[in-house]
Amino acid sequence: MSLSAYLIVSAVLFCIGLAGVLLRRNALVMFMGIELMLNAANLALVTFSEAHAELDGQVAAVFTMVVAATEVVVGLAIIITIFRSKASLNVDDARRLRH
């Protein structure tokens, strides 16, 4: 077994996350899909770090984690704000800016 198995797992995870974002309408589940995609990218970074025998990939994964954490904080605050005015988690209901 070579490291490409990890990359395949990463690709599959990324596509599952993408499916969550594209096919679900619940804002929270879409957010979880984004988290899955970020994690898939992390796995690829760590795999490349192992393949190239450098720690830079792992540092990049740490950075991705920080970005994911901030993204979740702001995103969930946005979800709560939308929920307050719309009383709905469905992303199709937030269409006030539509002309």
Partner: protein, 262 residues
């Protein structure tokens, strides 16, 4: 050992990820995502990234999933998701696009690595360990990015506070406004603007199941809870009136002490 952990953790991760996407209830999605994060951390251990393994569990299952759960508690979890397509054909096109992307990634990127396992051992040992090695990189080569990320985290915390502390969406209802609203409803639909009659005003007991009687002896329906009427425990005016008439006559004749006088 590495291969064993991989073949346990990788299918579990993918199964949990699929569960996250297909689960009907948001809580089940969150639980599945937690599991996917933990098994992904196991994959990190096989890739000689022990620090990331710990950080993964602390950051993802520890804080990010907790944030998700708090949000669920705030906004309620029992909401049905509408499955109607807003954009026509979106599901089909998305499915094709996802399949194409998966094929592209698997057939191009997956073959891009040539190195094997165990290359990181000496790199990890160079500074005395994986965490130390990461720290050296973080505070020398990537020091500026690290500072920029600190600014990002500050901004995000501030943004979350500003967003979560929203102004009142609707105006607060004052007593004057409520009175005006009631009178407007009275003018429009004839709804009673006054308080509903209390139970048992003309009744013999102070039980809430005893309806008030109107001056003509009929039962005031809105003086008792609709639940009690539905259950059939509220006596009707046919049952109440003879008793009331007898008691009133007794009161007039002086054979019964006036209620409340004793």
């Amino acid at each position: 050992m590495t291969i064993f952990v991989f073949w346990v953790a990788a299918p579990l991760t993918i199964a949990m990820a699929v569960g996250t996407i297909v689960a009907r209830k948001v809580v089940h999605s969150a639980i599945c995502l937690c599991g996917a994060m933990v098994t992904l951390g196991l994959l990190y251990t096989t890739l000689e990234a022990p620090f990331l393994f710990v950080a993964q569990i602390l950051v993802y299952t520890g804080s990010i999933m907790m944030l998700f759960l708090f949000t669920m508690m705030l906004i309620g979890i029992d909401r049905r998701e509408s499955l109607t397509e807003i954009i026509r054909g979106q599901r089909v096109v998305s499915g094709i696009a996802i399949g194409a992307l998966l094929a592209l990634l698997v057939f191009t990127v997956a073959g891009a690595v040539s190195g094997g396992f165990g290359n990181l051992d000496e790199v990890n040992e160079r500074h005395g360990g994986n965490a130390q090695g990461l720290a050296v990189l973080l505070f020398t080569k990537y020091a500026f990015i690290f500072e920029a990320l600190a600014a990002l985290v500050f901004t995000a915390a501030l943004a979350a506070m500003v967003l979560a502390h929203s102004d009142q969406v609707r105006a607060q209802r004052s007593q004057r406004g409520l009175a005006a609203e009631k009178l407007q409803q009275y003018a429009a639909t004839g709804a009673n603007p006054a308080a509903a009659p209390g139970s048992g005003v003309y009744a013999r007991t102070n039980s809430i199941a005893h309806p008030a009687l109107l001056p003509d002896g009929s039962v005031a329906d809105n003086s008792v809870s609709a639940v009690l009427s539905e259950r059939g425990v509220v006596p009707s005016d046919v049952e109440l009136l003879p008793i009331l008439v007898a008691e009133t006559a007794a009161e007039i004749n002086g054979t019964l002490p006036i209620a409340g006088g004793a």
